[in-house]
């Protein structure tokens, strides 16, 4: 074999290279890899958590939506009921008003008729007296027969 001082030189070189690698090469690269691995692991965990959160939120949202739908349906139902009620009330009111107006008119008509009747009676009695006066001419004393005339008027 051909061993010589090169061996010593190479041994020194080897030692220096390993020392340099141990000091300045391996740690930064290895740390970077490990830190990135941790970061990726954290990221994956965060994604999983976010997914779970999303699922929860979606479930909550669906529930709220259902609730809101139910509420709106209830409100619509109430509004419908109220509308019917208002229509009914108004109808009733109108009806009452009509009845009132009609009955008023009726009363007025009756009163008018009574007044006309009274007037007619008076006029008839006057006419009757006038007629009787014309028929009987002088024999009839209006005052003497006024009781009969009143009776007549009352009968009319």
């Amino acid at each position: 074999m051909n061993l010589n001082a090169t061996l010593i030189g190479e041994l020194i070189a080897f030692t220096v290279f390993v020392w340099f690698c141990m000091k300045y090469v391996w740690p930064p690269l290895n740390n970077a890899i490990e830190e990135r691995q941790n970061k990726i692991a954290d990221g994956l965990a965060a994604t999983e958590r976010a997914e779970k959160d999303l699922e929860l939120t979606q479930a909550k949202m669906a529930e709220q939506l259902k609730e809101a739908k139910a509420q709106s349906a209830e409100i619509i139902e109430q509004a419908k009921k109220r509308a019917t009620q208002i229509v009914d009330e108004e109808t009733q009111k109108g009806h009452d008003e009509r009845e009132k107006i009609i009955s008023q008119g009726h009363a007025e008509v009756v009163a008018e008729r009574n007044r006309a009747k009274e007037e007619l009676r008076q006029q008839v009695s006057v006419l009757a007296i006038a007629g009787a006066e014309k028929i009987l001419e002088r024999q009839i004393d209006a005052a003497a027969h006024s009781d009969i005339l009143d009776k007549l008027v009352a009968e009319l």
């Binding site: 074999m1 051909n2 061993l3 010589n4 001082a5 090169t6 061996l7 010593i8 030189g9 190479e10 041994l11 070189a13 080897f14 030692t15 290279f17 390993v18 340099f20 690698c21 141990m22 300045y24 090469v25 391996w26 740690p27 930064p28 690269l29 290895n30 970077a32 890899i33 830190e35 990135r36 970061k39």
Partner: protein, 285 residues
């Protein structure tokens, strides 16, 4: 081409020789002048290419580390992080203790060895020929005297240095986790054990022999496996490069196959390092 066989032999020899540097009485000397300088010879090509590639590795990864972001990473960062995660997973699966050294060590070994092996895919003559040309024109030496071996992992010195580094860490971790006595016990009381104390003492030499062989064989296997695979691959590239036009399809096929070897050997060295250190830091034998 009268002496073709000699030329081919010389060609291969030339390819398999490192550029040497040593200090002599007259000052720094190179290559052939260092033929008998013994241990204190430096393979300057191995040193330059390996350290250069190591610096490229550190520069690439350091620039990624500087620009690193926890947010969305860019493509370059993704690529670097892929490698980091690949090495990190292997370490996590195999090494169960707590250590901030194992993972960067494994990363350094994997990428550095891979880059050095990758030099094997550069056609074998390109850079040596260029170096010869530069040597001839700039320095003025014969281009046959300029040597350039660009795959540092085909130099046993480099693979042995890596293995020795790992071996030192193995012993260090053993002593750190199990204590000196625990380490000695591990070396002496296994694999043979007996109930009586006398028999135990008698068995200690055998255990020590077996365990020492087992321990020492680990860095040897690490160093020789990488060296052997890459050296053989390099040799075949050199041989293919010497067969004329036929080298084109042959080189293509061998290079494709070699891509596997390059990555696999880098991975095996890294994995075995982790496994050995894991064994060194676990108590149960």
């Amino acid at each position: 081409m009268a002496a073709e066989e000699v030329t081919l032999d010389g060609h291969i020899q030339h390819h398999l020789t490192n550029a040497k540097m040593c200090s002599t009485d007259a000052g720094l000397a190179f290559n052939k002048a260092c033929a008998d300088s013994g241990f204190w010879t430096w393979h300057v090509d191995t040193l330059a290419w390996s350290i250069g590639l190591g610096l490229i590795f550190l520069w690439i990864f350091r620039s990624a580390a500087k620009k690193t972001t926890i947010g969305v990473p860019g493509k370059f960062q993704c690529f670097i992080e892929m490698i980091i995660e690949f090495v990190g997973n292997n370490v996590k699966d195999t090494y169960h203790g707590k250590s901030s050294l194992i993972a960067p060590l494994a990363l350094t070994i994997f990428v550095w060895v891979f880059l050095m092996n990758l030099m094997d895919l550069i056609p074998v003559d390109f850079i040596p020929a260029f170096a010869g040309f530069v040597g001839e024109t700039v320095v003025g030496v014969d281009s046959h005297d300029v040597f350039m071996k660009i795959v540092p992992t085909t130099d046993i010195n480099l693979t042995a240095a890596l293995a020795i580094g790992v071996f030192i860490l193995m012993i260090g971790y053993s002593i750190k986790i199990k204590g000196v006595s625990g380490f000695i016990k591990e070396l002496t009381l296994h694999p043979f054990s007996a109930d009586s104390k006398v028999a135990m003492v008698f068995l200690i030499p055998f255990n020590l022999l077996l365990e020492t062989i087992a321990l020492v064989s680990k860095p040897f296997s690490l160093a020789l496996r990488l060296f052997g695979n890459l050296y053989a691959g390099e040799l075949i590239f050199i041989l293919i490069g010497a067969v004329g036009l036929m080298q084109l399809p042959l080189h293509f096929v061998w290079a494709i196959f070699h891509i596997l070897v390059i990555v696999l050997q880098a991975f095996v060295f890294m994995m075995l390092t982790i496994v050995y250190l894991s064994m060194a830091s676990s108590d149960n034998h």
